[in-house]
């Protein structure tokens, strides 16, 4: 067969056979042997003491004590429990390995291998049994049983899979429109700082300033943490003030801003990290997760990184007292892309 031709086995140096056994110090020198025994016994003997120490630390070292040593600052209880427990476990291991290395017989022995596969006789015998079994089952004559069983078993997967479909709501068009395609922003919702919920006055913002903000109506969700988290995950915004002379504002977005104060979604269009690194001079905003970079001076278009869509801009204006308010919800869904997303309305570089 070709496999014989394909590999050649030659031994230019004949196999000298298994190396001769070399005796260890402990095999020939009684003193070394006793020393090895003492070494192993010392390892094992120390373990109960350390275990006892562990128990003592557990009960008697208060949680408030701290260890300060060479740059390490940690709770004393933690350090001592770990040190005593760890060394105790380690000594069991070192003792056992030393026992095997120094004292146990170390004569190498050789064992025969057998081919992994069965020999032909066993194969024939097994096949024979299989055939006998098949014949006894009457399957060859009663084919309908086999065929229906082949359909019956896989069909059981259907109920199993269907029960999993209730793991979450189905994102049909209606559900999408009510969840991932809208935020709690709406006309007249005030922009407030995201921790203290203070309204923001346009005149208070300096050029170059960036404010992390939230919709004022997020306060209404205080009683429902889950709804608040879901709302925050979409409605988080950043407000920046730039010198209107240094930025591009397309005609369609002339009235989306107030004297160079622009408002963008804080949620990256790549995989949804909150974007937070602001380069004041270039008007670039960088996502710390995967470094997508958006130009806030140019309607949020992508200038670098793996994000493929502009950062959605929130149209804002001021109320009668000069506080910033939203003019509407975002005009496109915020956050990462999804299959059903109609991305034709996103702002592209050069749009008007």
């Amino acid at each position: 067969m070709s496999s014989d031709l394909e590999v050649t086995h030659t031994h230019p140096v004949p196999d000298p056979g298994i190396e001769e056994h070399v005796e260890r110090w402990a095999d020939v020198d009684p003193a070394a042997s006793r020393r090895a025994e003492r070494q192993v016994a010392a390892c094992f003997g120390a373990v109960p003491l350390l275990a006892l120490g562990f128990v003592v630390v557990y009960f008697f070292v208060p949680k408030t004590w701290a260890v300060q040593f060479a740059g390490l600052h940690a709770p004393a209880q933690h350090i001592w429990l770990g040190l005593l427990g760890g060394v105790a476990i380690l000594l069991v291991g070192i003792g056992a390995v030393q026992w095997a290395r120094l004292i146990m017989g170390d004569h190498e022995i050789s064992e025969e291998r057998h081919p992994a596969g069965s020999d032909p006789a066993a194969r024939d015998e097994a096949l024979e049994e299989v055939h006998e079994g098949i014949a006894q089952s009457a399957l060859p004559r009663r084919k309908l049983i086999g065929k229906t069983l082949m359909v019956a078993l896989p069909s059981l997967a259907l109920p199993a899979l269907v029960t999993l479909l209730d793991m979450g709501p189905w994102p049909g068009p209606g559900t999408r429109a009510a969840t991932i395609e809208r935020t709690i922003w709406a006309e007249g919702v005030h922009l407030v700082t995201d921790v203290t919920y203070k309204r923001i006055k346009a005149v208070d913002m300096a050029v170059g300033e960036l404010v992390n903000a939230a919709p004022e109506n997020i306060k209404n969700l205080e009683h429902d943490p889950a709804a608040k988290a879901a709302a925050t995950a979409k409605a988080a915004i950043i407000i920046v003030r730039m010198d209107p002379a240094t930025i591009k504002i397309p005609a369609s977005r002339k009235d989306w801003q107030v004297d160079g104060i622009l408002c963008y979604s804080k949620i990256c269009t790549h995989v949804g990290c909150p974007i937070s690194l602001w380069e004041q001079q270039t008007h670039h905003l960088l996502c710390p997760c995967h470094q997508s970079t958006f130009d806030l001076g140019n309607s949020g278009v992508v200038v670098f990184g793996p994000a493929a869509r502009s950062l959605p801009q929130l149209p804002i204006t001021t109320d009668s007292e000069g506080y910033l308010v939203a003019r509407s919800d975002f005009t496109v869904p915020v956050g990462p892309s999804y299959f059903e997303r109609d991305s034709s309305h996103d702002y592209k570089n050069g749009d008007n």
Partner: protein, 573 residues
């Protein structure tokens, strides 16, 4: 027939009628004999107790992975006693002053309680996390050892596939684990996974809504991941590990080539008592080291990150190291997104995220079969290859490591930019090319190095090793004395099989009958390329010739003339 009414218990006749060896453990008496009577203990242990395992440090890598897994089970059980997999909001009132009064999920709160209020809790938590890192690291290096030594060849392909299954499952397990504490870092990781799931074409949104129970973040992902982390995946891992070890026992361990080692034997020490002590002891060593790491090396200090909120993130957010290559791919992939009709296809997330994992594990799973097709080798292999002798495979391996490393480095492009004061954009662009170019360079360089090492082996066999003794000849020349290597080493360096170039055979023979196992032109070419870096090993004649000079004196004489030739060559210049 008449029967005796009574039989004396110690009747000699009765004793001799007992089949010899019926109760082999009776001598041990007590519980062991009792158990043998019921489950046949002796029969079970007869061939397995003294099973031979070969000795080599690289065989310990898989053991480290196994032991880390056991440590994970032990420490994990302790953690489940305290951890609350709930996203319900509570106000923190524990002992960590800086977070008092902060609203957070019960999952995060119970993680803080574990770290500050449960005695030994921080220790066990950190041991668990270190053991997880150790588990995946050891499994990775173990897999590389299997790859580079060719231990995946027949009959072990199935076990290689089980190993790939273990590896990919372990990544999922690790990810699910570090997502549980619901701190700012793990929440950021979940946010990424949400985006990743969404990016799957056609079914992405549906998958997202089913996995998260609606919109991100929802309230159910932590309990679900908890189930995945402590039941589903560990169960799978346990089953796969069981199968993995059962096959190791069945096939018997591979061994490195050496004197007396053949394809039909296994040379080493018996399981009982040597490996029970060594392997059992090694478990305690791995455990002890993990505990000491958990004691002194802080890992995942969740209290520093704060609770997760979807509008916050820390700069330098990164996954655990074993997810770094996926992270890197996500970072450097160009922004390719298709907007067809009313649909969006996020290739820039789907391909590097889902595609990378598929590519890596697919390529690993396919490799044994590809190599077997190229070499046409259908024999069982129990002797390991020295990596240099399988030059092309070794080069593939090094190229693969390089490929992985480039993505891994790209996963820290922000850290690199920050630490070395480089341009983030320049690093990203560099890595976009490096992931393609660096593996090719690594492949070519490794092939050269392997060939050089083979030449070096041949030289050692034929000319011995340098002794450091400089000899001056009467005519003024200098040379270094060489010493023949021991015959054991010479055998080890020359025992490997060779793969001669094949001639393509016709599809049909002269009678028009199809040729079985024919060598196609393409396979002959690929095989020739695969084995091209290999040099012919010294022949028996060459070895005899070199060795028959009978030791040092003649070696010197031969080399003296070589050396003086070189001297002449030099003096002519």
């Amino acid at each position: 027939m008449a029967k005796p009414t009574t039989v004396s218990a110690d009747s000699e006749a009765l004793a001799s009628s007992r089949p010899p060896g019926r109760r082999p453990l009776a001598g041990l008496g007590g519980p062991v004999g009792w158990l043998d009577d019921r489950v046949g203990l002796a029969k079970l242990s007869r061939h397995n107790l003294r099973k031979v395992f070969p000795d080599h440090w690289s065989f310990l890598l898989g053991e480290i992975a196994l032991y880390s897994f056991i440590i994970l089970l032990l420490t994990g059980v302790f953690l489940t006693i305290w951890f609350k997999p709930s996203m319900s909001e509570v106000e923190y009132m524990g002992t960590y002053q800086l977070l008092r009064g902060v609203p957070m999920s019960e999952a995060y709160e119970s993680t803080l309680a574990l770290s500050f209020d449960v005695r030994g809790g921080l220790l066990v938590r950190q041991v668990h996390h270190w053991a997880a890192n150790l588990f995946i690291a050891a499994a990775t290096v173990h897999m590389l050892r299997i790859f580079f030594t060719g231990a995946f060849r027949k009959p072990r392909e199935v076990n290689w596939l089980i190993g790939i299954g273990l590896m990919s499952t372990a990544l999922v397990e690790g990810f699910a684990g570090y997502s549980l504490p619901d701190d700012l870092l793990s929440g950021t990781g979940l946010r990424f996974v949400d985006g990743l799931i969404r990016s799957i074409p056609v079914i992405g949104t549906w998958a997202e809504f089913l996995v998260f129970g609606g919109e991100f973040p929802g309230t159910i992902i932590v309990p679900r991941l908890y189930m995945v982390h402590i039941l589903l995946v560990p169960g799978l891992l346990l089953a796969l590990i069981g199968a993995h070890l059962a096959l190791v026992v069945y096939h018997k361990h591979t061994q490195y080539p050496g004197p007396g080692r053949t394809e039909t034997n296994v040379v080493g020490y018996p399981l009982f008592p040597v490996y029970m002590a060594k392997a059992g002891g090694f478990f305690f060593i791995v455990f002890g080291v993990s505990v000491l790491m958990g004691t002194f090396l802080s890992i995942n200090p969740v209290w520093k990150f704060g609770p997760y909120t979807p509008n916050q993130v820390t700069a330098g957010s990164q996954p655990d190291w074993y997810m770094g290559f996926v992270e890197g791919a996500i970072r450097i992939f160009p922004p390719l997104e298709s907007h067809w009709g009313h649909t969006t296809w996020s290739w820039q997330i789907f391909l590097p995220g889902v595609g990378m994992l598929g590519l890596l594990f697919g390529a690993l799973a396919a490799y044994p079969f590809i190599e077997a097709w190229i070499t046409g080798d259908k024999a069982e292999h129990h002797l390991l290859d020295r990596p240099r002798n399988a030059a092309t495979r070794t080069s593939f391996g090094v190229a693969g490591i390089t490929w992985y490393a480039m993505f891994w480095i790209a996963g820290g492009n922000d850290i690199l930019a920050n630490e070395f004061g480089l341009s983030l954009n320049a690093i990203t662009w560099f890595m976009r090319f490096a992931v393609f170019i660096a593996p090719v360079i690594a492949f070519m360089v490794t092939r050269r190095i392997c060939t050089s090492l083979q030449r070096h082996d041949a030289e050692k066999v034929l000319h011995g090793v340098e002794t450091g003794v400089i000899v001056r000849t009467p005519d003024g020349g200098y040379y270094e004395d060489h010493m023949p290597i021991p015959v054991d080493e010479a055998f080890t360096l020359t025992q490997h099989p060779e793969y001669p170039a094949l001639q393509p055979t016709a599809a049909v023979d002269e009678n028009g009958v199809a040729v079985p196992a024919r060598v196609t032109r393409r396979r002959a070419r690929v095989r020739d390329w695969f084995f091209r870096p290999n040099i012919a090993k010294p022949t028996a004649d060459e070895v005899t010739e070199a060795r028959s000079h009978g030791g040092a004196e003649h070696e010197i004489a031969t080399h003296a003339s070589d050396a003086s030739d070189e001297q002449k060559a030099v003096s002519q210049h």
